[in-house]
């Protein structure tokens, strides 16, 4: 009898304590929710193409953010906070990305979003996030206008305070590619093709401008329809133009078949593109004819960065099915920047999330600085990465090999 009374009293006290804890936990939360173990759950949203042609890159982004969240939880990097990810598929479509942005904003637990892949999608999401003061860090958007305004060539004006990126912009990537193609590869006559999208057209434009300034000649330009896979008409034009190189502004699902068809048309000249074609899938699509094709991509080669080696090993150990691809390291660093910002906000508020956590995270992001997978991670006054490295890769023996790297120090 006595034992039974003791159990009853203990149970009643425990229930009371739990009720009090539950009541108290949400009062001063500006985001996040009770994780059930006395802590708070913070969600990092992910937006990327998880299905469709570009899913190789998108899944690499999602997995890398997941790895960052798991690493932070394992290390208990932010006291009392457990990170979770919520990944949404934008299918590479601006309108879907915008809907995803609205969905992520509606979830109070989301305090930061990593993504998207495509600059056109990023453009559509920026305003939604900025209105909600929700930080967005893209690992892959390279169009300069996203951080420096549409008139970036004349006057740089940051359009959205909540938008950041870890990738280098095409204001550097295009000219870097032009310098390599003209000076190192000694190509003087280029045929420029783009997919009319924000990223592709923007990159082709920055490449073309520098190539002409260097003394190179543009012997033809064409736009392709990204929905099509038959580029034979364009390939014939390339053949007849006498070009010694093709520059393509766009992504690998089109660049691969385009390269193949240009060579089949009889123009045995390299196709050069940006980070959008730097994928193992490009090589699969281009086939053997792709040997000698070139791509510039953001960042230094993985083998040069000890921190990247650790990331590669951890990614492998985590057992993700898909490769981390071109933006894995940048995605991990984007997520980690959010984690650092959350940590700062929590620590500045006596270990709890404040009411206006989202706005505070945006402010904290501006001053984030840490040694990431891709080197030192911090942001300039426009929200651009301060670490601006680029590498030229070429297709050799069925794989991308490093040719030359450069660092912007201006």
């Amino acid at each position: 009898m006595r034992q039974r009374s003791l159990i009853a009293i203990t149970a009643a006290l425990a229930a009371g304590a739990l009720t009090l804890t539950a009541c108290g936990s949400r009062d001063d939360d500006g985001g996040g929710s009770d994780s059930g173990n006395g802590g708070t759950t913070v969600v990092i949203g992910v937006d990327a193409p998880l299905t469709g042609d570009l899913s190789a890159l998108g899944l690499g982004i999602k997995n890398s953010v997941d790895l960052a969240a798991k690493t932070a939880n394992k290390e208990k990097y932010v006291e009392g906070v457990t990170f979770k990810i919520e990944a949404l598929d934008d299918q590479g479509q601006a309108s879907v990305g915008q809907q995803n942005a609205t969905k992520l904003v509606a979830n109070d637990d989301v305090l930061g979003v990593v993504g998207p892949l495509n600059s056109s999608v990023g453009e559509a999401m920026q305003k939604v996030f900025d209105t909600a003061k929700l930080v967005e860090v893209s690992p892959a958007n390279t169009n300069p206008a996203l951080t420096q305004g549409v008139n970036w060539q004349k006057e740089k004006v940051r359009p959205y305070k909540s938008y950041f990126r870890t990738a280098t912009t095409d204001a550097i990537q295009g000219p870097f590619a032009a310098q390599y193609v003209y000076n190192d590869a000694k190509k003087k006559k280029v045929f420029v093709i783009d997919d009319k999208k924000t990223y592709g057209a923007g990159l082709a434009a920055t490449f073309t401008e520098e190539f002409k300034k260097l003394g190179g000649k543009v012997v033809g330009t064409e736009h392709i329809n990204p929905e099509s896979k038959d580029f034979s008409a364009v390939a014939t034009k390339v053949k007849n133009s006498g070009a010694d190189v093709v520059y393509y502004g766009g992504e690998y699902p089109q660049a691969g078949p385009l390269s193949k068809q240009i060579k089949e048309a009889g123009a045995k000249i390299p196709l050069v593109g940006g980070d959008g074609i730097y994928s193992a899938d490009f090589i699969k699509l281009a086939g053997a004819a792709g040997t000698g094709d070139l791509a510039t991509s953001v960042g230094a080669p993985v083998e040069e960065l000890p921190s990247a080696k650790e990331f590669v090993a951890n990614y492998k150990a985590a057992g993700y099915k898909e490769a981390y691809e071109a933006y894995g390291g940048y995605s991990y660093d984007s997520a980690w920047a959010i984690i650092e910002a959350v940590k700062k906000v929590v620590e500045d508020n006596d270990g709890k999330l404040p009411d206006d956590a989202r706005a505070k995270v945006v402010d904290a992001m501006q001053n984030v600085s840490f040694d990431g997978v891709t080197g030192k991670v911090s942001f300039d006054e426009f929200g651009d990465a301060t670490n601006k490295q680029l590498t030229v890769y070429s297709v050799k023996d069925g794989a991308w090999g490093t040719v030359k790297s450069g660092t912007f120090t201006g």
Partner: protein, 200 residues
């Protein structure tokens, strides 16, 4: 007494040496062992001691080997400073500017070559290559360019760069340093002056 205790030999019953049984035939190895028993046992003992020591040495706890030094391009920055005054009377086709080479962490980095990609320009530096830069001690380097052929220099490029070959104890690398828009403007200006009609 009963039992089966040892039976003491009675008188006259002392054990005598029994005549030895005929020895079985032995092989040459056995004969050698018989003749050199001490030496063989000694050698075996020494071998065992050596093998044991070797094993212990090989499996001794060792401090973790230090991580490989970073690639030189990952710790080196070459930043543009400003144009330097030169005596145009001496060589109107030359112009100079300063850059700062900074190394973030050890080991020191040696710049073994500085070049630029344009066909109509040649480059020298002061100090001349190779020169060494230690972490925490940035070096100011004067770069002098000379126009060798005005028709082969770009007049107005957006992001020109310097190619610098870097070496440390880990690797040797050629790396491009894109010195930014201020360098681009100063370079364009210098090229326009150097290739003006005055001396063409």
């Amino acid at each position: 007494m009963s039992g089966v205790g040892p039976v003491e030999p009675g008188e006259g019953t002392h054990v005598r040496d029994a005549p030895s049984a005929p020895r079985p035939r032995r092989g040459p190895l056995e004969r050698y062992f018989e003749q050199h028993r001490r030496a063989v046992l000694g050698a075996l003992l020494i071998s065992a001691v050596l093998a044991g020591s070797g094993y212990l040495h090989a499996t001794r706890p060792r401090p973790e080997s230090p991580p490989a030094p970073p690639h030189p391009s990952q710790v080196t920055t070459v930043a543009y400073l400003n144009p330097q005054a030169v005596d145009v009377e001496t060589d109107p086709r030359s112009f100079s500017f300063g850059v700062e080479v900074t190394v973030e962490s050890d080991p020191p980095v040696t710049v073994t070559r500085i070049s630029q990609p344009y066909a109509g320009l040649s480059v020298t530096s002061d100090p001349r290559t190779p020169f060494r830069t230690k972490a925490g001690s940035p070096r100011k380097i004067m770069i002098t360019m000379r126009v060798t052929e005005c028709g082969k220099v770009p007049r107005n490029v957006g992001l020109p760069f310097l190619d610098v070959t870097l070496r440390n104890t880990h690797a040797i690398q050629m790396h491009s340093f894109i010195l930014g828009p201020r360098y681009a403007q100063d370079l364009s200006h210098a090229l326009q002056v150097a290739c003006s009609n005055d001396f063409r």
